[in-house]
C-alpha cells in the first residue's frame, strides 16, 4: 500500500501545486498507516532532489527518453508502472490541465474510481473520502470509492503550501519499460505562453476588471494592472470584458473561465452576475468597486467603495505604494 503523488513539471520546474498535494498526501498516508511516494517523470531524475524537502517517504524517479516531454499516453503508462511497483491504493495529482487528464486516463484504464478537481480529502473508517464542488460550485458532495485504487485530482490552492524541511526520503528509480512505438502522440511544438504574470489559479491576490471600464478599456485595464503589480496580484476579468475584447480569455474568472480562491479579490466595474460569483465566491475577502450602490456584487463583498473605478483604482494604488513602501 502507498499514497502516490504525481509531481508535475513544466518549463519552469516542478509545478508548485504538486507540493500542496504532496503535503496533504502525507496526512492521508499517515491516517491510512502507509507511506507517501512522490513520482517524478522525465528523461532524468534531476527533479527528485527538489522534492525531497517536502517529505515523501520515497521519491520514485521514472526516467527514460520517452518521458522527456509530457505526453498523455506515455505519462499514463509510466504512472501505471509506478502504481504497480509501489502498490499504490491512492493516486493524487494537482488538477491542472495535465494533472486532470492524466488522472482521468489512469483511473479509467485501471477501472478505478476517480474524483476530479476535489477541494478536500480525508480518511474515514480507513477509507478515502474526497470532497467535490459541483454544479459550478453550487453543490458540495462527498465522494466515496468502492474500487481498490482511488484516484483524485486536487484543485489548486485547496491545501496550504507545505514548508520545505531537511531533505528526506530515499530516491528510487524505475524503468518505465516504454519505447517510442508505444506512444501515439507526437509533440510537434511547445510554445511558452508564460509572460511572467502570476497565474489566476495560484494567486493569493487578484484584481479584476469588468465592463465598468468601457469608457476607456485600455486605460481601465492598465489601472487594474497597476494595482495588481503593486500587490503582486494576478489580473482577472469578467466575461463581459473578455467578450468585448478588452483582455484575453485566459484572464476570465467565472463559470466558463477559471475558478479562483485568493485571499483577496478586488472586483472593479463588475456587477456580480452569478456566473462570475461561481468562479470567485470562495475568495477569503472580496472588495467591490462599483459606481452603482445597488450592484449585486456588494451582497457578496466584505468591503465596498461606491465610486468611479477610474478614480478609485489610482487612489488605491497610490495608497498601497505608500504603505507597502514601494
Amino acid at each position: 500500500m502507498s499514497v502516490l503523488v504525481w509531481i508535475e513539471q513544466n518549463q519552469n520546474g516542478v509545478v508548485p501545486n504538486s507540493f500542496e498535494v504532496l503535503g496533504k498526501a502525507r496526512e492521508i498516508a499517515a491516517a491510512l498507516g502507509t507511506q507517501t511516494v512522490a513520482a517524478v517523470l522525465g528523461d532524468n531524475a534531476s527533479a527528485a532532489e527538489s522534492v525531497r524537502p517536502y517529505g515523501p517517504d520515497v521519491v520514485l524517479a521514472i526516467t527514460g527518453p520517452v518521458l522527456a516531454n509530457y505526453r498523455l499516453s506515455a505519462y499514463t503508462a509510466a504512472l501505471r508502472k509506478a502504481v504497480e511497483a509501489v502498490g499504490a491504493t491512492v493516486v493524487l495529482t494537482a488538477a491542472t490541465v495535465r494533472g486532470r487528464e492524466v488522472a482521468a486516463m489512469l483511473a479509467s484504464q485501471l477501472d478505478a474510481g476517480y474524483a476530479p478537481d476535489a477541494i478536500d480529502l480525508r480518511v474515514e473508517n480507513g477509507r478515502l473520502v474526497a470532497v467535490r464542488s459541483v454544479y459550478s460550485n453550487n453543490i458540495l458532495a462527498d465522494v466515496t470509492f468502492n474500487s481498490p485504487v482511488q484516484v483524485v485530482s486536487v484543485r489548486p490552492r485547496s491545501f496550504p503550501m507545505p514548508e520545505p524541511g531537511a531533505p528526506g526520503g530515499e530516491v528510487r528509480t524505475l524503468d518505465p519499460g516504454l519505447s517510442e512505438n508505444d506512444v501515439k502522440e507526437k509533440v510537434l511544438e511547445v510554445k511558452s505562453t508564460d509572460t511572467g504574470e502570476i497565474s489566476l489559479t495560484d494567486a493569493s491576490i487578484i484584481v479584476s476588471g469588468g465592463r465598468g471600464v468601457a469608457q476607456d478599456p485600455a486605460k481601465g485595464f492598465a489601472l487594474v494592472a497597476e494595482l495588481a503589480s503593486v500587490l503582486g496580484a494576478a489580473v482577472g476579468a469578467s466575461r463581459a470584458a473578455v467578450d468585448a475584447g478588452y483582455i484575453p480569455y485566459k484572464h476570465q474568472v467565472g463559470q466558463t473561465g477559471k475558478t479562483v480562491k485568493p485571499d483577496l479579490y478586488i472586483a472593479a466595474g463588475i456587477s456580480g452576475a452569478i456566473q462570475h460569483l461561481a468562479g470567485m465566491g470562495g475568495s477569503k475577502v472580496i472588495v467591490a468597486i462599483n459606481k452603482d450602490p445597488e450592484a449585486p456584487i456588494f451582497e457578496k463583498a466584505n468591503y465596498g467603495i461606491v465610486g468611479d473605478l477610474f478614480q478609485v483604482l489610482p487612489a488605491l494604488t497610490a495608497e498601497f505604494k505608500k504603505r507597502l513602501g514601494k
Binding site: N10, A104, M105, I305
Partner: protein, 258 residues
C-alpha cells in the same frame, strides 16, 4: 470521415444556484435544461470541419428522454444526425458508466473522430472523454483550441496547458475535447430550428449497449449546499476618494490578506 459530437443536457447556468441538494440526490433537477454550454463549441467545430473536409456528423447524448432537446439544439445548429442513449432505467452509475455507454455508441457509429466539450456545468468532471478514449483504446487530446489539419490518418491540433501552447499530432480514430478559444458557436437559424423540431431521434436504452446498473466505482454522499457566504458589506465612506482608499487599505492590512 465520421465525426461524433458528445453533448450533454445540463441546467441553464443562470439557474444553477437554485439547484437544491434534494434535486441532486433524486436526480430530478428543477431547472430549465439546455445544451451544456461547453458542448456548443464541440458542435460548432464539427460543423466547421464539414466546411473543410468530407464529414458526416452525429451528435450523441446520454440522458433522460428529455435530453433530445439538447440533441435538437445540435441539429438546429447544423449537425447531420443525432442519437440518444436513454439512461432513465440506469442507476448507481458514475462517470465511467457514462463513458462506457458513450464509447459503445461511438463504436456502433463507426466514428473516426469524437469531439466533446471541456466539461459539463453540472458534474464538472472534465473526465468523461478520457473514459471514452480509454474504453476505445484511442488517443485523446484535451483542451484543444485549434484543429490544424486532418490528413493521412493523423489529426494535428493546438492545445493550451498552463503556461504553454502545444501542437500535437495523433493518429485517428481519436477523442478530442475542445476549449472555448476554438470557435464562436453559432445561433441556430430559423430554418435549422424548424428542421430539428421535426427530426425523429433514435433512442437506445443503455442496457442494450451492455451497461448495467450499479457499475459505478464512486458514489456521491452527503450532498449539500455550500455554506452561504455571509458577509455584511462594509461600505467605505469618506469625503474624498483618497480618504476612502486610505480607509480601505487600513481595513485590508488589518485583515492580513496583503
Amino acid at each position: 470521415m465520421k465525426v461524433v459530437v458528445l453533448v450533454k443536457q445540463t441546467p441553464d447556468t443562470a439557474e444553477l444556484p437554485k439547484v437544491s441538494a434534494e434535486d441532486v440526490r433524486s436526480g430530478k433537477i428543477k431547472a430549465t435544461m439546455v445544451i451544456n454550454p461547453w458542448d456548443e463549441f464541440a458542435v460548432e467545430e464539427a460543423i466547421l470541419l464539414g466546411d473543410r473536409y468530407d464529414v458526416e456528423s452525429v451528435a450523441i447524448s446520454m440522458g433522460s428522454p428529455d435530453a433530445v432537446d439538447a440533441l435538437k439544439h445540435a441539429l438546429a445548429m447544423g449537425v447531420g444526425g443525432a442519437a440518444l442513449i436513454d439512461s432513465s432505467a440506469l442507476s448507481g452509475g458514475d462517470l465511467w458508466t457514462t463513458a462506457a455507454a458513450l464509447a459503445a455508441a461511438v463504436k456502433a457509429q463507426g466514428a473516426d473522430l469524437v469531439l466533446t466539450g471541456k466539461q459539463s456545468v453540472d458534474d464538472n468532471s472534465g473526465a468523461v472523454y478520457a473514459g471514452v478514449a480509454a474504453q476505445l483504446g484511442w488517443p485523446m487530446v484535451s483542451a484543444v483550441t485549434k484543429i490544424v489539419d486532418i490528413s493521412n490518418g493523423q489529426i494535428t491540433v493546438e492545445r493550451m496547458v498552463e503556461g504553454a501552447q502545444e501542437t500535437i499530432s495523433v493518429p485517428l480514430p481519436a477523442v478530442i475535447s475542445v476549449g472555448k478559444e476554438i470557435n464562436e458557436p453559432r445561433y441556430p437559424s430559423f430554418m435549422g430550428i424548424r428542421k430539428a423540431s421535426k427530426a425523429v431521434i433514435p433512442s437506445t436504452p443503455a442496457a442494450e449497449l451492455g451497461i448495467a446498473s450499479g457499475s459505478g466505482k464512486t458514489q456521491w454522499t452527503n450532498i449539500r449546499k455550500p455554506e452561504e457566504r455571509k458577509t455584511k458589506c462594509v461600505i467605505i465612506e469618506g469625503a474624498t476618494v483618497e480618504e476612502k482608499a486610505a480607509k480601505l487599505v487600513d481595513a485590508l492590512l488589518a485583515e492580513k490578506v496583503i
